[in-house]
Symmetry: C2
Subunit: 205 residues, 2 copies
DNA sequence: GCGTTTTCGCTACGACTCGTAGCGTAATGC
DNA sequence: GCATTACGCTACGAGTCGTAGCGAAAACGC
């Protein structure tokens, strides 16, 4: 048990601007080179820092890309549009817009693939990317229950299972549409999808 | 226009057993090393062939892994279980079982990530992996319409859109559940998912 | 048989990336 | 001033890449 960290204990502090520059350079490299051809040396050069600085802050390529991609999802929000259907359509369109960006496409799927063999990496993805998306689902569900569009769920375990299911269906469908099928998740598609999802939730209650 | 290829025109024919050995070695390497640490030299050694032989048959790591993973999906079938719900549950469980295997997990997502920057690779994935899955959706839909569980769709364009939507929802949800959420798509989950999907399809008709 | 053609296994190669170590310097707290 | 940490830079062995060149093996037409 060490005494609590007082920001930086001693010595020269890390340059905070370097973090932002490195993450931005990582995203740029993802766009231009893609995952497999991205090298840490190249990222360091783009960011204007030494390669050793990069290795002092991140364990490797996987962790760096997770952080770089995670920032893309910061803009996700769930404005109240008045109905469950409109709320879902809005957030799904936001999610689709992020996934349409090339740095998200090539980066996200690659780290997910790597995470199948690295539990620590999976946990990093979960806490820094999935967690924020999950909050939106919980928020939307609570709103819909308040409006009476969804029945209240007394059993917390059952409620958790349902939220997990919704999350996998929504995120999975958008990702699969965008990356595997290679087609845009545009308004028409999102509307059809939302109709099916809401109908399914209502009928399975 | 050259004369039709009579199997092999002249010279020593390629050893057909080598293809199978290489693809099996690729899957084994995916299990033990994962995508990023898989090297073609290592695969060649495992398969008992020279590295140059491997490069004569495949353009690179991406194409090789696509073919190796595609074989995993050969076993997918859609036996008639009497109802749409049971048909869906059956095929989703099969799909989940394949995705649970480590060589599918790490291989499939990695090539999908690479395909975001390589149209030829995306087409290869579509024709050798996605196509077979899509056939099952069409087959299941036709069966359900014959049973009267789903209404016939007169407009072929609308029908195609619906099939695309179903496919993205089913495959996407299973993939997201297995790879991102990191939980098993077991019978309980599949039953809940099927209930939502069927309810959604029925209500949105 | 005999020449042609293609594949195969093997070795070797330059180019590149990896992750780390070492060093001198800069920036902070005590 | 002194200890401590971050930084930029260089250099390094190790590993992988994809290709070229070689001789031997296995099919074909004659």
């Amino acid at each position: 048990m060490q005494s609590r960290t007082p920001a930086s204990r001693a010595g020269r502090p890390r340059d905070p601007a370097a973090d932002a520059a490195i993450l931005a350079a990582t995203r740029q490299a993802l766009v231009e080179l893609g995952w497999s051809k991205l090298t840490l040396g190249d990222v360091a050069t783009r960011a204007g820092v030494a390669k050793t600085t990069l290795y002092r802050r991140w364990a490797g390529k996987n962790e760096l890309v997770v952080d770089a991609v995670a920032e893309l999802f910061d803009e996700l929000e769930l404005p109240d549009r008045g109905s469950l259907a409109d709320d879902i359509e809005g957030v799904v369109l936001q999610f689709a817009a992020i996934l349409a960006r090339p740095e998200a496409k090539s980066g996200l799927m690659a780290v997910v693939a790597e995470a199948t063999r690295d539990d620590a990496l999976r946990e990093r993805i979960r806490s820094s990317i999935v967690e924020r998306q999950m909050r939106l689902v919980l928020q939307g569900r609570a709103r819909a229950q308040k409006r009476g569009e969804l029945p209240p769920e007394p059993d917390p375990r059952e409620a958790a299972r349902t939220v997990d299911l919704i999350f996998d269906v929504v995120a999975g469908a958008v990702v699969h549409r965008t990356l595997v099928s290679g087609k845009a998740a545009d308004e028409e598609w999102v509307r059809s999808f939302t109709r099916v999802l809401i109908g399914g939730l209502a009928s399975s209650a």
